[in-house]
Amino acid sequence: MLEREITISNRLGLHARASAKLVQALHGFEASASIACRGKEVNAKSIMGVMMLAAGPGTAVTLRTDGPEAEQAMQAMLDLFERKFDEGE
């Protein structure tokens, strides 16, 4: 299992559109993926799960992936966070 800490740095946090991008980025990877913060862990492949996490800008979250493509899935998530979800493009 892979685990990475990251701080949410896009302008508006994990709202519906950002959550949708995360779910889409993970689509097709043979890996489970989750996001955790404040003692709550949700399935990162579920848009409702990610939205319900209520992770606003500046929140520290833990990303976890597991499975044959855990590494690629983790990279896909990290890329999206680093690109700040392509917001305002």
Partner: protein, 578 residues
């Protein structure tokens, strides 16, 4: 008794119709429990309703057009994913199966539960996004209701009506428009809301923030609304109706007039020919460009071939896309821009780029292409092969140094040689141009103009880089000003330098399609515009009414003006809007 009140215009156009009031709680919920033998049928009803809701979202997505389509599409995608998410739907099925609730009641219970979670969130923006839950739930409720004949009657009654409501979900707008609703008046909302964006996209007149609407208007009152001024007239008088008929006549005439311009030349009143190209990335843009009489494609963005996918497109795939584009334009020139991506825009799977501190000033555009020469070579080969089917030009983005152009030109020549020796047909003179969007390229253009066959001015980035203002930063919106004297000087200098050396200069940013800037750009010497195809006829009409010589005489005064207010004053003196 005539009554007038005002909201804010959110989507242009006038509408005259009967008022239909919608109170905030829209759906009647059937609370009677299900009999044991009804459960399976109710589960199936819900499944079909969710499926129908998703299908409607897909349909809506296909009908978007205009500059806001992408933003709206992102919302529709998010809502579509929500409807497919078991974390949303499993609970509803459970409430039907175990709780014996009817589908509509179960959907409402799930909605209340989820909204409760949102309302407990600390972050104010995320908290406000319970709106997304309501949109999605509202869509499922609507499709549950639609089966009943009462709903059909309700919709049938909508022909010729103006909806008056507190709020409307984007997902409700399309069915409303399709059922003949003529306009929308909302007591809340803003012209930046998703519904307003969508209304503009659908060309449905809309007024927002008309606080008095629900108390001042009654069902079946005759309403006249003006989505431009935000005015709502209840019980309009004969005079109001005359105004409306006037507007109708003018609008009909305008669209007829604009349609007449489809196949005409673009010429100023004093006979100077101006060339209007279209920007394009989707096949629909290309079709529209052709039917509206664009002189060619002035900017074909290739990024979409690279985004949202896990593998890079190969030469063959790119070749087919470019060839179809060239064939679609039937001999009119097509300008293909090489990949314009940076660390902030690259896709997770296709291209893995290092994260950068400052992607706007990082490895992007031609810098990325030259760092990944294999990638550029594939793209250039694909473009060159397409050149056998019609006139093609290559445009290089984000150029700041002459050496970058030299490198690309060398590669272009090598690719052409390789292709020819492999037996491919390649046009003899595929022109190469540079985007001028970095101030350095504009200022030092004289030193590199001999290396290019044409230039294209990308004003969106040129403004951002000249003024050091991120155009997506809300706090700096007042500083992002295409009329800043520094920007105008760079644009004028670029056009002048290109023309002096016998090169064409096309302007292809947002400014090109905004008729507020048309006169100014003509004054600065611009003769080649490239814009969203939907704006072509309006700009053509504007140009046809302007006098080129007069505008050119005022170029110096415009460039001397120290502030945008003074620029506006010069334009006003010419009898033009600022």
């Amino acid at each position: 008794m005539r009554l007038v009140f005002a909201g804010a215009g959110a989507s242009r156009g006038m509408a005259l119709g009967r008022a239909r009031l919608e109170q905030p709680s829209r759906f009647l919920i059937d609370e009677r429990p299900l009999g044991e033998d009804e459960v399976d049928a109710e589960l199936e009803r819900l499944r079909l309703a969710i499926e129908a809701a998703r299908e409607e979202l897909q349909q809506l997505r296909r009908k978007l057009h205009g500059s806001t389509a992408r933003e709206v599409a992102e919302f529709l995608d998010a809502h579509s994913l929500m409807l497919a998410d078991r974390e949303l739907t499993a609970g509803i099925y459970e409430l039907i199966r175990k709780g014996r609730h009817r589908a509509s009641a179960a959907v409402k219970m799930q909605r209340d539960r989820l909204v409760g979670i949102f309302e407990a969130m600390d972050d104010p923006y995320l908290r406000s996004r319970k709106e997304d839950i309501d949109h999605v739930i509202g869509r499922v409720q609507a499709s549950l209701l639609r089966e009943s004949s009462a709903e059909e009657r309700r919709l049938a009654a909508r022909v010729g009506e103006i909806l008056v409501s507190d709020t409307v979900a984007p997902s409700e707008l399309l069915p409303l428009a399709e059922h003949g609703v003529l306009g929308v008046v909302l007591t809340s909302g803003s012209s930046f809301s998703h519904s307003a964006i969508l209304a503009r996209s659908l060309r449905l007149p809309m007024i927002v923030a008309a606080h008095a609407a629900l108390s001042a208007v009654h069902d079946d009152d005759l309403l006249l609304i003006d989505g431009e001024s935000g005015e709502v007239v209840v019980h309009p008088t004969a005079q109001d109706l005359a105004r409306y008929r006037n507007w109708q006549r003018e609008t009909a005439q305008r669209s007829k007039q604009l349609a007449l311009l489809r196949d005409t030349d673009t010429r100023t009143r004093d006979g100077v020919a101006i060339t209007l190209h279209a920007n394009a990335e989707a096949p629909t843009d290309v079709a529209q460009a052709r039917t509206l009489g664009a002189a060619g494609i002035g900017l074909y963005r290739t990024e979409f071939l690279f985004l949202q996918r896990r593998e890079l497109p190969g030469e063959e795939e790119q070749f087919l896309a470019y060839r179809d584009l060239v064939l679609g334009m039937q001999g009119r020139p097509v300008t293909i821009r090489t990949l314009d991506l940076g660390a902030d825009k690259s896709d997770a799977s296709g291209l893995v780029l290092d994260a950068e501190e400052n992607p706007a000033l990082g490895v992007r555009g031609v810098r990325l292409s030259l760092r990944l020469p294999q990638l550029l070579a594939i793209q250039l080969r694909a473009i060159l092969r397409a050149s056998a089917y019609g006139p093609v030009r290559v445009l290089v983005p984000m150029v700041s140094a002459a050496a970058e152009i030299e490198s690309v030109r060398r590669m272009l020549a090598e690719c052409a040689r390789d292709l020819r020796s492999a037996g491919h047909e390649v046009a003899h003179n595929v022109e190469l141009g540079a985007m001028v969007e970095v101030p350095a390229a504009a200022l030092a253009l004289g030193g590199m103009i001999h290396l290019v066959d044409f230039v294209a001015i990308g004003t969106n980035d040129l403004v951002q880089y000249t003024l050091a203002v991120d155009r997506n930063n809300d706090h700096l919106a007042h500083l992002y000003d295409p009329l800043h004297p520094a920007v105008l000087k760079l644009i004028a200098h670029t056009i002048h330098t290109a023309h002096r050396h016998g090169r064409r200069a096309t302007l292809c940013g947002e400014m090109a399609g905004n008729r507020r800037y048309t006169a100014l750009l003509l004054a600065l010497g611009l003769t080649d515009f490239s814009m969203h195809p939907g704006l072509l006829l309006e700009v053509r009409e504007t140009i046809n009414g302007l006098d080129h010589a007069t505008l050119r005489r005022h170029a110096a005064a415009l460039l001397r003006a120290p502030t945008r207010e003074r620029i506006a004053r010069v334009l006003q003196r010419l009898g033009l809007p600022d």
